[in-house]
Amino acid sequence: MDGIHDMGGMQGWGTVKIDPKEPVFSEDWHARTFALGLMSMGVSGTNLDAFRHSLERLHPMDYLGNGYYGRWLSCAEQLLVDSGILAPGAVEARARRIDGQDVEEPADVETHKPEYERGGAGSLREIADTPKFKVGQRVRASTIRKSGHTRLPAYIRGHAGVITALRPAAVLPDSTAHFTGEDAQHVYTVEFTSAELWGDDAEPSTLCIDLFESYMEPL
């Protein structure tokens, strides 16, 4: 989907500062959120791709508002509500009660975890199909703008590059995030020049990205 998460090439964010003394978790709630975020996938009966899509579905202000772990927290809550593990508003109501406010908590709802078949643990799969493309081949990235989850960023779409490696086949995030199947595909590393992506005035560099077979067409 075209959302705030798809940041490659966006402008106006300012500079980046490295804090050499940064702890692993700078606040306790970051640590609790990290652990709960990891657990939320199993508890909601979803998966890593659905987790990433849940991040993307947040309102842009929720995505950015409280940083990385702020979005993890909203994402985990959303997955748990989607699966009926928690009622909508349950977290907010409990938080207000912890804060001393006299609010009613919503009644539990019926659990409805997604039903889908996994072909195994993790994301990598052995597939029988012959790879459609070869190392060294020129390809063009798809221009399709999906409404759902995809791992083809906007700044790559429609551009031509060269395949530099065939990687292990993997489940297609576009399908697994929506529980419609695994649709495992070959994955290729494709290299693009900065001039191709950003125009002739761009700083000279190249960019390598991993693309699923269905994200590309031959040139």
């Binding site: 090439g9 490295i18 978790f25 709960l36 990385y68 409990r94 009660r97 791992r151 761009a202 991993d210």
Partner: protein, 198 residues
């Protein structure tokens, strides 16, 4: 500008995470000790010291270096490193001619088994947005001025391959042991936003 999706008095993340944990513990869907275990693992056991051991070994052992560049997953397993976000580790080598740097523009994918959890700068929208478009300029702002003749290649971790940089070994380190070398290797050099200095 879009309005905030929540009222002004929406509970803070601190309160909401406490609420979320309480609701899941009450329903016996998570155990507090399990959460503590995850946190402790990434605070104490999994971090850049793992990646630094891999780099130091590759610097002193040419056969390991070869295996590491050919099959990152198997070579890292030799040192006991693997697990979540390390299903397929790909190691790329930085040289004076070719510099490599890693990003995840779509979220913040990172090789957890070797580097632990990503630092703030890696998750910063400015890093995710700019490193693919003006890497030399941004690296300069982050303190790494690369010579003009050094080519730059950026790796956007968009699938489940996790990229790990094998930095160049600094000069004048011939007398150092593998353990001493590992202490020189910074997290930032293993992502490609710094070089290792003796």
């Amino acid at each position: 500008m879009t309005d905030h999706p929540h009222p002004d008095d929406y509970p803070s993340p601190q309160l909401r995470v406490e609420a979320l944990e309480a609701l899941l513990v009450e329903r016996e869907l998570v155990k507090t000790e399990m959460l503590d275990g995850f946190i402790s693992r990434y605070v104490n056991d999994v971090g850049p010291m793992n990646g630094a051991k891999v780099v130091a070994k590759a610097w002193v052992d040419p056969e390991f270096r070869k295996r590491l560049l050919e099959n990152g997953v198997e070579a890292c397993k030799e040192l006991g490193f693997g697990g979540p976000q390390g299903e397929h580790i790909v190691v790329v080598e930085n040289t004076p001619e070719q510099h490599n740097v890693v990003v995840c523009t779509l979220c913040s994918c990172y090789p957890w088994p070797l580097l632990g959890l990503p630092p703030d700068w890696y998750k910063d929208p400015a890093y995710r947005a700019r490193i693919v478009r003006e890497p030399r300029k941004l690296l300069g702002e982050m303190g790494l001025d690369l010579p003009e003749k050094t080519k730059i290649r950026v790796w956007d971790s968009s699938a489940e391959n996790r990229y790990f940089i094998l930095p160049s070994r600094p000069e004048n380190t011939d007398g150092l042991s593998e353990e001493e070398l590992a202490l020189l290797v910074s997290r930032d050099a293993m992502v490609g936003v710094a070089v290792v200095k003796a």
